[in-house]
């Protein structure tokens, strides 16, 4: 669909291992929660790692898409649709990102 869309400027190198890039589950958690907090449609008081986007935070499907796009922009890779449908809580997102970036998830 987006042939003319964006030339993502990839100015960061891909490191061989996630740990040398300074990635850990805590760092990923921090970044994800920051991105979610910056999203205006979510009130920061109700937000926890386990809060469900649609049921507890009151987002609809388009808001969910916008949120996942913000996370894609933050971490620099695209999340395909089949995976995106299942990411309904911040903890799901963190687990998915840890798997994708080969960081140990506890």
């Amino acid at each position: 669909i987006s042939q003319h869309a964006i030339q993502r400027c990839s100015q960061w190198r891909c490191y061989a291992s996630a740990s040398s890039a300074g990635l850990s589950q805590d760092k990923i958690t921090e970044r994800v929660m920051t991105v979610i907090k910056l999203f205006e449609k979510i009130s920061a008081e109700k937000l926890t790692i386990e809060s469900h986007f649609m049921k507890e935070l009151g987002l609809d499907s388009l808001d969910h898409v916008e949120l996942l796009m913000a996370i894609e922009d933050e971490f620099g890779f695209e999340i395909p649709d089949q995976d995106a449908e299942k990411l309904n809580k911040p903890s799901d997102i963190i687990k998915y990102l840890c798997e994708k970036m080969e960081v140990d998830y506890k």
Partner: protein, 125 residues
């Protein structure tokens, strides 16, 4: 009717336009939203249009919400196709600034309430 003729019952099922299931259609809609969303900053820059990114995002959301209650898969497919055509025309710069501003055109002009307004409008006070 003559004996022996079978009444053929036409199978009443509509041929799909693009998607076979509603899941498929939902995915198309969300992908269209994603593509438009990603294109918005470039539209603002390339068309030099007096809009801000929040305004454009709100308008995009408004245009998608307009068809929120549509459930017929073929209708959804057609709407997605039209949206995709609009996106292609806008992204390739085949449109002009006025066409982009048309999305923000006010279709209902506010009715005058004071005497002079109604007078200029030509209506009886």
């Amino acid at each position: 009717s003559t004996g022996g003729t079978l009444i053929r019952q036409a199978v009443k099922e509509a041929k799909p336009v693009f998607s076979a299931t509603s899941e498929d259609a939902r995915r198309r809609v969300l992908n269209l939203y994603r593509a438009w969303f990603r294109q918005l900053p470039y539209i603002i820059r390339e068309y030099d249009v007096p809009l801000t990114l929040p305004m454009c995002r709100r308008k995009l959301r408004e245009n998608f919400e307009k068809y929120r209650q549509v459930n017929d898969i073929r209708v959804i497919d057609l709407l997605v196709a039209k949206g995709q055509m609009e996106l292609v025309e806008t992204a390739h710069m085949w449109k002009q600034k006025t066409h982009v501003m048309d999305y923000f055109k006010q279709t209902v002009s506010p009715k005058p309430t004071d005497f002079l307004g109604k007078f200029f409008d030509g209506k009886e006070p």
